[in-house]
């Protein structure tokens, strides 16, 4: 194997290892599904560097994500892994994969709408469909839920409460 192909083989292995890491708060989503993995690269010394971006400025899960990524890479046999955080461009729910949206719905969390168009500050908001029964007759309980990225809703058809992923 040439040095160049050894590097690309390593990078492919790193992508597999990183791809398996899940969100510490929403374990059905991988970090890749969530769209927080911005870059995976390898320097000439063979070190893997993963760049992630926070969802919210104060997201307490960021430290756990960085630790989980490092652990996954070390477990996969890499001697050194560096996790870098970048703020720009700012994360948006538009980066969540289609696959991720489906997984969220199946898990009982209404996924964010496609293509964030910022609603007016005091305008009408689009109601998420109930992830349990699919009804569009839902009511917001609170704009703030169990994590910074979710709001709390109730379905008026099946009466189940549910979390919805906020669109930002």
């Amino acid at each position: 194997m040439t040095a160049a192909s050894a590097l690309s083989f390593d990078l492919a292995r790193a992508r597999v290892a990183v791809g398996a890491v899940t969100d510490p708060e929403i374990p059905v989503l991988t970090l890749d599904d969530l769209g927080v993995i911005r870059d995976i690269r390898q320097d000439e010394a063979g070190r893997i560097e993963v760049t992630i971006t926070p969802t919210y400025s104060g997201c307490p899960a960021m430290a756990a994500m960085a630790l989980d990524l490092e652990t996954a890479l070390l477990t996969a046999g890499f001697k050194e892994a560096r996790i870098r955080t970048t703020l720009s461009p700012a994360w948006t729910t538009d980066w969540m994969s289609e696959n991720g949206r489906e997984k969220l719905r199946a898990y009982g969390i209404a996924p964010p709408e496609r293509a964030t168009t910022r609603r007016a500050l005091f305008g009408e908001e689009t109601k998420p469909a109930c992830p349990h029964c699919g009804s569009g007759k839902t009511a917001k309980v609170s704009e703030f839920g169990s994590t910074a990225c979710k709001s709390l809703w109730r379905c008026e058809a099946c009466l189940e409460p549910f979390d919805a992923f906020k669109c930002i």
């Binding site: 400025s57 104060g58 997201c59 500050l121 609170s142 703030f144 930002i168």
Partner: protein, 250 residues
């Protein structure tokens, strides 16, 4: 120039931290579980913004101060936050009025800061602006419910507004440090934010049937470390653990 940038960044950071800490004091005392969680979420956003800003201020300063050193090891007079942030929580109406006044100014301000020539501040602003839009909406919806609610809730919301109005003038005051940042294209001119702040305010106060108070500029000094009597005790409580056990982790 670098010293001005550190001071300017610390002002933004301190305001976000102090207000975030005030909100965190509501944890487990909220009127409902949903509101308790909401205020903790607002606090989390603000403290997150503060951490990013402290990290940057410490890097620019280059003296090895990290976010913990800046937050926990500076005394009252070294804090450069807006006075409104340190005001006591009062009742729930006072807290929501304070939150609305701050967010209605800061959301358009952060939107303007996104165009800063300083790439790091612009990146932090891009995150903060999205979060603050939620704060404006949340506090604004509460002002409408309280103002257009019962006679009691209206009286309390109006009293909160009248009491806190004296700290609003400070939003728009600039000194030599801030003027240098504005001239360099790093900071937005706060007076250019005033029309959007007032439009947001008039919209919400109109729906809330609350009277718009006079915003005076008699209470200034937060940005240069001259505070009201409320900051010291708040910092004492916030900093005691870190100072008693320097470097402690868990």
């Amino acid at each position: 120039m670098a010293a001005d940038l550190v001071t300017y960044t610390l002002r933004l950071a301190d305001t976000a931290l102090v207000l975030g800490h005030r909100l965190s004091q509501w944890s487990s005392y909220g009127p409902t579980i949903e509101e308790d969680i909401a205020m903790s979420n607002l606090a989390l956003d603000l403290i997150g913004q503060a951490r990013l800003l402290y990290d940057y201020a410490g890097t620019v300063e280059g003296k090895g101060q990290d976010e913990d050193a800046l937050a926990y090891l500076r005394d009252e007079h070294a804090y450069l936050n807006l006075l409104i942030a340190e005001q006591p929580n009062g009742d729930f109406a006072v807290t929501m009025v304070r939150q609305f006044l701050y967010a209605a100014f800061m959301q358009p301000y952060m939107e303007a800061l996104m165009r800063s020539k300083d790439a790091t501040l612009a990146a932090i602003a891009a995150k903060a602006e999205k979060e603050l839009a939620y704060h404006v909406r949340h506090a604004g919806e509460w002002l409408v419910r309280l103002g257009d609610g019962t006679a009691e809730s209206q009286a309390r919301a109006q009293a909160g507004l009248d009491d806190l109005a004296i700290f609003v003038g400070e939003f728009f005051e600039t000194d030599a440090v801030e003027k240098a940042m504005i001239a360099a294209g790093i900071a937005p001119d706060p007076t250019s934010i005033r029309p959007r702040f007032e439009a947001l305010l008039d919209h919400v106060l109109g729906e809330a049937t609350l009277r718009r108070p006079v915003f005076s500029t008699h209470h200034l000094g937060g940005k240069t470390g001259r505070h009201t009597e409320h900051l010291g005790p708040m910092l004492a409580e916030m900093q005691v653990l870190h100072r008693a056990h320097p470097g402690a982790v868990w």
